[in-house]
Symmetry: C2
Subunit: 167 residues, 2 copies
């Protein structure tokens, strides 16, 4: 399929050689790749989200959300011919001013190795390349520190994130 | 043009008769209408944003943002054959789970009359009709109360709105 082609097209290399921290995965043969291909297996994605305890979502809706996201970044571990989805992030956007991140996740077996940071840096880089200046997100309480280290500020100038609940 | 046709198509009526609070505008002859037409005059929109003190934005980008917003709601005062843009809101979305509101504004001459509330209700109604369950926004500190009255909660379950700043 167009999967590896898309990776090469977007990231221009098959080996993230300059980013050594992208390889502290258990098996030394494993290599980490990023892709912006939207043609990902949504069942595999939902398994990833399931692994971090998120509730299951209708597959049809997940597919629609991916299709209508401005950017979709997936992170893969490649061992030989086998690739495993180990991370994911996507952003909605108006294609001009702002983008908002959703569904940022790294598989529990791969957490704490700098991969979440690498995934976020790829995402931010892509958004900046697309000339988006206003990058926002809604962080769960326990990951505010993770995002702060990446340059995100909570409530800048008193701006409050708000969610609507049906009356 | 397709302007009034679009209003009629979307809201199904030329007279918001059931919403009397939609008419407490200075001139009794004026009537308030909503439209979801994207074909609005971006210069008129930027004038509206200017009137509340927002900084000017490149017209080309405003046009692109409108085009790529999931929903665009404009509010108009109609007097005879003349229509004036007096309010605006738009939302980005993944078309499946979540929508985020941006650029919510009511012209200063029309503020404090319930029109901001009416505009927000139309926006929420449209998003709900599109089966969006997760409606979010980033509120400036001084309008948190305005949104709270409409059913929005700040930081629900400790979720924090965050913005990225270049290092
Ligand atoms: C949040 C998440 C994406 C982080 O991924 P990760 O691969 O574990 O993060 P990294 O290893 O790249 O960590 C980068 C830095 O952030 C820190 N960090 C990671 N998770 C953190 C957390 N929950 N709280 C505070 N700091 C955290 C790390 O200590 C590391 O700091 P260092 O550079 O000083 O060593 C991942 O833990 C995850 O998927 N969690 C479950 C899903 C989730 O909650 N997503 C966010 C929803 S808003
Ligand atoms: C915020 C804004 C859209 C509100 O529009 P509006 O037409 O003045 O609001 P309404 O008259 O419909 O007010 C609805 C209710 O909210 C209250 N309210 C309005 N503005 C408020 C504010 N800034 N702070 C607290 N409460 C407010 C009103 O008192 C009213 O309450 P009531 O129903 O109990 O009488 C408008 O003031 C505006 O455009 N401001 C400048 C732009 C801006 O800051 N936008 C938000 C960016 S996040």
């Amino acid at each position: 399929m167009g999967f590896w082609k898309s990776i090469f097209r977007v990231f221009g290399t098959t080996e993230p050689t300059k980013k050594n921290r992208l390889r502290p995965v258990p098996n030394q043969n494993g290599q980490i790749f990023f892709s912006t291909d939207r043609d990902i297996d949504v069942y595999e994605l939902e398994e990833l989200c399931d692994a971090v305890g998120w509730s299951r979502r209708p597959i049809r809706k997940v597919r629609k959300a991916i299709q209508h996201s401005f950017i979709v970044i997936s992170m893969w571990e490649k061992r030989g011919t086998y690739s495993r989805l180990i991370g994911f992030a996507r952003a909605t956007s108006d294609h001009a001013f702002n983008a908002t991140l959703w569904d940022v996740v790294v598989h529990p077996e791969y957490q704490g190795k700098g991969l979440g940071k690498a995934l976020m840096k790829e995402t931010i880089k892509s958004l900046r390349q697309a000339d988006i200046s206003n990058i926002s997100l809604f962080a769960d309480a326990h990951v505010v520190e993770f995002y702060r280290q990446l340059g995100f500020s909570p409530d800048p100038e008193g701006i409050k994130g708000m969610f609507w609940y049906p009356p």
